[in-house]
């Protein structure tokens, strides 16, 4: 793995792109990495496009700017493609990971200037079938881990199980669903 991996998240306010970035930072932290997870704040309220970022590294991170040339971009809501230049600045060898029911090939038509790798994950379907509602964060997280290879999948799942156990201490029934969502997302990413 490269020394420093930079990820940019696109979502809509209230959808949890910031939470997803913080979850990824959390998971990476727990596998021993140096991390940054931060949103780009504006006056936006519910529904407006928002951006969040991650830096993940084996070495101490000192840079404190936004990320303009990410290794990976995660798009939590496919309707952002078009209004937002989601693929902007993606490094060579990097990839964009989109929550969509469409195939990478179909999406490429909408990302004409982008020559890099496009991966998709049907996070909505997976979450509805495992967690019971449209909660795309968990599958997106799995997809990003899979595509980026940031951390060992086994370690990642192990940590997430603990994390969910802690987070959902009062409603343990959702732990299994979330774990299933993660496992499925690791397998069902298309375009790798």
């Amino acid at each position: 793995m490269k020394k420093l991996i930079e990820i940019r998240w696109h979502g809509r306010g209230g959808q949890g792109a910031k939470t997803a970035a913080l979850l990824l930072a959390d998971a990476a932290f727990n596998t021993g990495k140096y991390i940054q997870g931060f949103p780009e704040y504006g006056p936006e309220r519910m529904g407006a496009p928002i951006t969040a970022y991650n830096r993940i590294s084996d070495e101490k991170i000192t840079i404190h700017s936004n990320i303009y040339e990410p290794d990976y971009v995660a798009v939590v809501d496919q309707t952002l493609i078009g209004p937002i230049d989601v693929a902007s600045g993606i490094k060579e060898g990097g990839a964009i990971i989109i929550n969509s029911d469409k195939s990478p090939e179909e999406l490429r038509k909408h990302l004409k200037d982008f020559k890099g790798k496009i991966c998709t994950i049907n996070a909505r379907k997976i979450s509805e079938e495992t967690i019971g509602k449209n909660f795309p964060n968990t599958p997106m997280l799995g997809a990003v881990v899979k595509v980026s290879g940031i951390m060992d999948e086994g370690k990642f799942l192990g940590y997430m199980k603990e994390s969910f156990a802690h987070k959902f201490a009062t409603k343990p029934q959702v732990i299994d669903g979330n774990m299933k969502a993660l496992e499925r997302s690791l397998k069902e990413v298309e375009g790798i």
Binding site: D26, I35, Q36, F38, Y41, T62, I63, H64, S65, Y68
Partner: protein, 393 residues
């Protein structure tokens, strides 16, 4: 041993407050420092601290209540940003003149107008002459460490001044990063008990604070206050030494990064220092002798020490994340230049105003500064010393 954690800058301050368990916290929410009283009130609600939390109706009242509480004999804390700090303005001067070691987390944000919630240093820079000790922090770790040290610095018998611990709004306040925490007991032992000599609630000695003072006394009282700021420098270093023994994390009046043999240097405050370090590393790999000086303690201003650290540079850039609207440059540049006078006053110094209102500062921006410095060094002099970085021209 330290506790490995990941927290945002605001969380780390709130946690430091929790570990210290102060007697009184009085605060009013303002972006981006809001989370601090928010997290802290949760600690209060859950009985994790036995602090009196005073949810005041304004920042002016926050500082007023802090003054009342600290004068009464309580260890008192608050947090604010930008316009909140400005609303406290009058009380900042009064708190320091009363010699009250209140500890404040200042989460730096652009001071209106126009209204802007993002980071720059116009708020705390404006308060630089209010008699508060000002300590700046590059990261969440430094914010946490400085806050804990700040309590001891302010309360030191030879200081007795309020302390402002600054960090960059959103950039570090809202970014989750790795941090190493101290154990609760370690923190409590390190800051010790607040044991004031004179206070309102002293059963043995009622006192009166905050007099009307006429021309026959005020001058002497200001001089007395100034001595505390002079004394603070030594105390800051002593406290840092103890802190190092405990945590292994070393702090001084400033951080000199690859500065010893440097030819090109910049002076910078808070999170931009981290971004600039990455640039310095790159330039060093290219064989360019770049370095930087990161201000930690701005009040008291360690003029002699800074001048010594900078005097061998061939070209210097001072980075101001505040426009003092003086027509000649930013506040940091003014202080640095006056520090160099007599020590290296013919060194070419250029001042950049940058990052106002949260304009993002990228490594490319910093590289541009070093490129400029290279040119200045080659020329040996510089004419236009008041510049803007990252401005749309």
């Amino acid at each position: 041993m330290g506790i490995r954690e990941r927290l945002s800058g605001n969380e780390s301050i709130a946690l430091a407050m929790k570990q210290i368990n102060p007697d009184v916290v009085a605060a009013f929410p303002i972006t981006p420092s809001t989370e601090i009283p928010q997290y802290f009130s949760q600690f209060v609600a859950n009985g994790k601290v036995d602090t009196e939390f005073v949810p005041v109706e304004s920042e002016h009242s926050a500082m007023s209540a802090c003054i009342g509480a600290q004068a009464a004999g309580a260890r008192t804390m608050t947090a604010t940003s930008a316009n909140g700090l400005a609303l406290m303005w009058e009380m900042l001067y009064i708190a320091s003149a009363m010699k009250l070691p209140i500890t404040m987390a200042c989460v730096n944000r652009a001071l209106s107008g126009p209204l802007n919630i993002h980071n720059d240093h116009s708020d705390s820079m404006g308060a630089r002459d209010s008699g508060w000790i000002q300590i700046y922090s590059e990261t969440n770790q430094e914010a946490y460490d400085n806050f804990i040290q700040g309590v001891r610095i302010g309360e030191h018998k030879s200081v007795q001044l309020p302390v402002m611990i600054c960090q960059d709004g959103f950039i570090t306040s809202h970014a989750v990063e790795n941090i190493e925490l101290m154990e609760d007991d370690e923190v409590k032992d390190f800051v010790g008990k607040y044991d004031p000599e004179h206070y309102l609630l002293n059963e043995k000695e009622p006192i009166a604070v905050g007099p009307l003072s006429l021309p026959s006394h005020t001058f002497e009282q200001k001089r007395e206050q100034a001595q505390s700021m002079i004394n603070a420098k030594k105390v800051i270093l002593e406290v840092a030494k103890d802190f190092y023994k405990l945590t292994g994390r070393r702090y001084g009046l400033f951080e000199a990064y690859k500065l010893e043999d440097a030819e090109l240097g910049i002076v910078v405050i808070n999170s931009t220092a981290g971004t600039a370090k990455a640039v310095v590393d790159e330039l060093r790999e290219e064989g360019i002798k770049a370095g930087l000086l990161k201000i930690r303690v701005f009040r008291p201003f360690p003029a002699d020490e800074i001048a010594d650290a900078l005097k061998n540079l061939k070209a210097l850039a001072v980075m101001d994340k505040a426009e003092s609207l003086s027509g000649v440059g930013g506040p940091l540049a003014a202080e640095i230049k006056s520090a160099l006078y007599g020590k290296a006053h013919d060194m070419p110094v250029v001042n950049y105003i940058y990052g106002l209102g949260g304009r993002d500062v990228k490594t490319d921006d910093i590289k541009k500064v070093y490129d400029d410095l290279m040119e200045i060094m080659k020329k040996g002099s510089v004419k236009d010393t008041y510049r803007y970085l990252g401005l749309k021209e």
